[in-house]
Symmetry: C2
Subunit: 353 residues, 2 copies
């Protein structure tokens, strides 16, 4: 396959010199784009869009036609794994994801099948191949997965949750079944990410969207140790190249040092921590991705530019910064405002390299 012509994103993650700070945006293919909303309408349902490789490829490429982004990210959902395990994923308008069959008893954990992602999630691998072909080396393609803990929360709660009472009651009352579930998920996530690499993913991001709801003494045991195992089992790319891994653990800034020590190449941080502090804490071990508050994009282009400048300045000189928001872009953002951000990063960042 063609290597990336613009490899700024991969180089920054590997802490190699770059000419300017690379930028991509979480949920860059999403509802804030009218052309996305059109395809989403055509697909009929969100999962209809995820499971159709041609449409998933099309929406993956949409933001790259508008903005000078340094990476593409596979359009998919973190819940494809539990869906493929037979839990019956569907999306209820305004309520988010729901599973027809939640995990309620130890027997439910035992009954979960081991996935063969190449087969069970073939539509994801086809989308990756297609996107790589269409990108033709313009920018690298990021694959992704949810973390075992984050997937477990949805599977036990039966969908989104406010207090995570069910999954935490299971964790506190039945650690054995909880670890059995997490280990099964870790095996499937490992195979899934390795299959994504084989299909053409050039970098990976693991989303631990709900690691932040765990206590200081359970985060390591119930989330981080599985992330470590997964990262240790990932294979290099088809030409033996390193496939860098970014860990994005939402609301986990208190655990930043431990996250940076998992073997990942980059850590995602949100806007509640300055990049200067984050950098001081992780040192030279890993690259840092982030961290503009997505709500800044609701302000004027002048404010957006000033905030982009402040974010770049907070990281400071040298490689290792991947510019991004601290969370996904929201549907109410005007795409022209995102253009102002991308332009500001391109224009201001060369002075730091």
């Amino acid at each position: 396959m063609t290597q990336a012509k613009n490899d700024r994103f991969l180089r920054a993650l590997l802490k190699q010199e770059v000419d300017r700070t690379p930028v991509w945006i979480m949920r860059q293919a999403g509802r804030y784009l009218p052309e996305y909303r059109e395809i989403r309408q055509q697909a009929g349902s969100f999962m209809g869009l995820c499971t159709n490789p041609e449409l998933a490829c099309e929406v993956t490429l949409q933001p790259l036609r508008r903005f000078d982004l340094d990476a593409a990210i596979l359009f998919s959902d973190i819940l494809t794994i539990p869906d493929a395990m037979g839990l019956g994923l569907h999306f209820v308008e305004g309520e988010g994801p729901k599973f027809e069959r939640a995990i309620a008893r130890p027997a439910d954990v035992a009954a979960l099948p081991r996935l063969d992602p190449t087969d069970d999630l073939a539509y994801v691998m086809e989308a990756i191949s297609l996107i790589r072909r269409e990108l033709n080396g313009r920018v690298p393609l990021i694959g992704f997965s949810g973390s075992p803990w984050t997937l477990a929360t949805y599977m036990v709660e039966g969908g989104s949750s406010k207090n995570f009472g069910r999954v935490k009651a299971m964790m506190y009352s039945d650690p054995k079944s909880t670890h059995a579930l997490l280990q099964k998920l870790a095996d499937s996530v490992t195979d899934y990410l390795n299959a994504q690499i084989a299909a053409g993913a050039q970098a990976l991001q693991i989303f631990d969207s709900w690691g932040g709801v765990l206590s200081h003494d359970t985060f390591g045991q119930y989330s981080l140790q599985y992330l470590k195992r997964i990262i240790a089992s990932l294979r290099p790319g088809p030409d033996g190249e390193t496939v860098p891994v970014i860990l994005f653990c939402k609301g986990c800034n208190g655990h930043l040092e431990a996250i940076a020590a998992t073997g990942c190449h980059g850590v995602g941080v949100d806007w509640t921590l300055s990049l200067a502090d984050a950098r001081a804490r992780v040192g030279d071990r890993v690259a840092i991705q982030g961290n503009l508050d997505p709500s800044v994009l609701l302000a004027t282009p002048e404010v957006i530019r000033a905030q982009a400048a402040a974010t770049l300045d907070s990281y400071g000189a040298g490689t290792g910064h991947v510019f991004n928001l601290g969370h996904g872009i929201t549907p109410d953002v005007n795409p022209d405002h995102l253009a102002a951000l991308i332009d500001a990063v391109a224009e201001i960042s060369p002075r730091y390299h």
Copy 2:
């Protein structure tokens, strides 16, 4: 008025020696209690309950009849201030609080009246007097308020929010109006808390429930500086005694040192930080309140006891710990499980004093 016979809670906040670790529970008067649900039904609506001093007094006292708690907390809501300012608070089942009139323009900020809490929120002061009379010195009574920033989020968003886009767009685009709003709220919160002290509140808690959504460089300016000003303007109690103030800034553990330096007497922390770490960071400046994960109460009494022991042990020896959950108790908790927690704290904690 009668001084508290059990002053363990006040003494711990002032870092004076105690015989055992005091305990109270956020939302201890709440939906997990069948007797609360009965009164709530009678009142017709949540605000009907808050605005009726006799009923508010009754539900405040309910948990004290069941459990050996070291403090009572006024039953009320943080949104009484914007309601009294004329925004029209109401609660929609399953959707949380809503305002009929949200703050949308600078003119809306200018039009907000300065409250006279003794008059405009007389029902709160009557409830406090009544509760003090009924408590008859058994335990101290805690009054409370929302923080200016937290109140502003509800007032600008028109209710609860997911991304806080409106209030943040206002903050980033129009800092002047945002500060005008926050200053008005800080004045009203100050007057409100001083009126609560005059009516009989013996300690205060300020909830910055949404400080955690602010960025590292806006939290100080848009939330903490107003909290500092409020605390500096609070008066002593009727007999010249110190009325200790607890700041509970949800999701703000990254700012713990700054929060401890506001002049408050205690800081609330959630379960994502160990009490040992929290104590190491704030030193002897302030007491620490917290921090059991409320979901532990969904596990067995044995697990609850073990987790209570671990929490006490994490704080370690000496005064300055107020045992609490790291967030409000959830409606799905069995009251017997809370009894197991309260008993465990009473039984285990003397060895640390």
